[in-house]
Symmetry: C2
Subunit: 382 residues, 2 copies
């Protein structure tokens, strides 16, 4: 039986940036397609036929019985210069958990690789699972573009098919994932819920002007409004025990010697409940608008995606926690499990992250904890 270390080592070099040590595995780019080839090879080695669902998701089936199926898996795609574990650990663990199961029964197990979970290329996270569950219209998904103007339809090579009958055959979904905060002090925990979260685009507009000659009093500088809003978002989130981040910015004309015409920032906000989240976003918008009035600029807020709170299946959570004698914990990160849970009873398993660092080359879990995760997943599947 192949070891975790050996299987993990096969994936490690794919899409790794030699400078940052992080991964550039955007959906349907050569690095992510190479991961998919590895997926097919693993399925072949286990005599598991691979199904493509027409939405960019791959499912390798263990057992062909007609009984209700269990799905387990995660995603290959990464954020820019992301870590090795976020996504791939769930797929590698799924194959290795299957290796630990007895012969196939009437209840098939599907190992799944979902497409574009991070939304790093086309802007909509969990795109593959949203298409499969019908949570996004195939026509809308097909027309999404990346930063170079390439559409999902072009990247996929076809218009996505959207919801198929696949989920009618599925009775449970289990996703194993590296934990992403510092909330777990033992190797494995059971996920209870996903915080409501979303992305909002803030467009700050002012008046482009010469950075040298324009009197300070004559300026309409949207960079000031942006900067104030970044600090306000941080303060408002801390006040509420919520999370707010502005990690992406775009500037026009983005020249050293020009007052900008436009500064665009993206607000990522998350909170334990929907009311806190909407209160946070409203407070940030209000403070941005107040500052814009002082700066002689304007701000508009556009909701790009919002995911409501997800409570995983209570019965399943309790059974897993009891079976594994593991603690339960929520997460503030979105996952395909959150999308699936609206359609089939779903649960997540988390593997300990000693530093809490994620979405970074420094993301890490020990081999021992990963092996404990595989054993736990095998126990749950069994």
């Amino acid at each position: 039986m192949i070891s975790f270390r050996e299987l993990w080592g096969q994936l490690a070099p794919i899409g790794r940036d030699p400078d940052s040590g992080g991964y550039l595995r955007y959906a349907w780019t050569p690095a992510e397609l190479a991961c998919r080839e590895w997926f097919r090879a693993q399925a072949d080695a286990r005599d598991m036929p691979v199904e493509e669902d027409g939405n960019g998701n791959l499912i390798a089936w263990y057992g062909t019985g007609s009984g209700p199926a269990v799905l387990t898996g995660s995603h290959f795609d990464s954020v820019p210069h992301g870590g090795a574990y976020d996504g791939p650990l769930g797929i590698v663990s799924a194959f290795l958990a299957v290796d630990r199961l007895p012969r196939p029964t009437d209840r098939p197990i599907g190992v799944v690789a979902f497409a574009e979970e991070e939304g790093a290329r086309f802007g909509v996270p969990c795109l593959g699972s949203r298409l499969l569950t019908g949570a996004i219209e195939p026509a809308r998904a097909a027309a999404l573009t990346d930063r170079d103007g390439v559409t999902v339809e072009a990247a996929l090579g076809a218009r996505p098919t959207g919801a198929t009958g696949l989920l009618d055959r599925v009775e449970r979904y289990v996703e194993l994932h590296i934990e992403q905060g510092r909330m777990l002090e033992v190797p494995v925990g059971v996920g209870t819920a996903i915080w409501p979260h979303g992305r909002w685009r803030l467009d700050f507009t002012g008046e482009a002007n010469h950075a040298g000659t324009t009197r300070m009093a004559d300026r309409h500088d949207p960079m000031l409004t942006y900067a104030y809003t970044v600090l306000a978002a941080n303060k408002e989130a801390r006040l509420r025990g919520a999370h707010a981040t502005v990690g992406r910015v775009y500037v026009e004309p983005n020249a050293t010697n020009a007052v900008p015409a436009l500064v665009r920032g993206w607000l990522d906000a998350r909170a334990a409940d929907a009311q806190t989240l909407s209160g946070l976003v409203e407070a940030v918008h209000k403070r941005a608008a107040e500052r814009a009035a002082r700066d002689g600029t304007a701000v508009t807020l556009t909701e790009e995606s919002v995911s409501p709170v997800v409570d995983f299946d209570g019965v399943l959570v309790d059974r897993c926690a009891g079976l594994l004698d593991a603690p339960v914990l929520p997460t503030a990160a979105g996952h395909d499990a959150g999308v699936l849970s609206a359609h089939v009873p779903t649960v997540m398993l988390f593997v300990r992250n000693p530093t809490g660092i994620s979405h970074s080359p420094a993301e890490h879990a020990t081999d021992e904890d990963c092996e404990a995760g595989i054993e736990a997943l095998a126990a749950v599947l069994a």
Copy 2:
């Protein structure tokens, strides 16, 4: 004799972005090369031989006498989405001023187009005039790269030659330019000085992390330090009657759902004297470092270019102001005239800018004021 409107109209479409209405005329790109073709055609039409100085600068000579020469001109290159007047007005006015002069005398007049005045492509403003005057080493200039990694040597098609004997023949330099603040209430003014000014790069480094799951207290978010510094620079400049701008920013990984690892901002700072300028930059750096300590991030300040105060030739300023009955004024913008003035007596003429807007598609001067500028330049040359 061709009119200002007609000649201006020939240049207007070159490099104009149809969406913004601004210009994308970076040095040695097709749009700027098309401007140079226009320059050669104008020189040919006036029987003015064109000299290339090996540094990317073009000089069209009116008169071939052996007496000391007068240079006049400006630049074609623009900031991203810049205005039509900043640069080209000085070259168009030079040709039209020559048209108003009597037959060539023993004192030749050179109409000059300097390369890369804005520094928008290779980061060093006034690159052409710095090379011509020996203010930058040709080897250093040759190795400068644009955002795509193209070197000056590759863009120019050869290693720059640096200082030549050209300036030994030159007795005066006069540059006509659109005014860029709102300091001129009559059509034409005479420049007295250029404020000391410079560009500093601020690198804010923190720890890339997941925007959803990382507790606020565990973050090392350089975007916060950057935002605080933008606001601090604005305040410190206002306190000193100086100018400070952060108009360009670069973020890694620049993803919506990741706390950044790096935020890089460029500070453009200008003041009436060198002491105020250095005090401003020191204050910004100090406040950035204080905030970095609170954010658990780090900041480094790198001087990219600094231009000391330039006082134009006092005799020439007084003579021009008397001849034209025009007011005198300083400018906070760098110009090739500032570089030349260290080597030959130099003066600038400014044409009124009703809104003060510059480095923007909205930059504008009336045709009447431009014609007044041409008459003034012709009078000064005569």
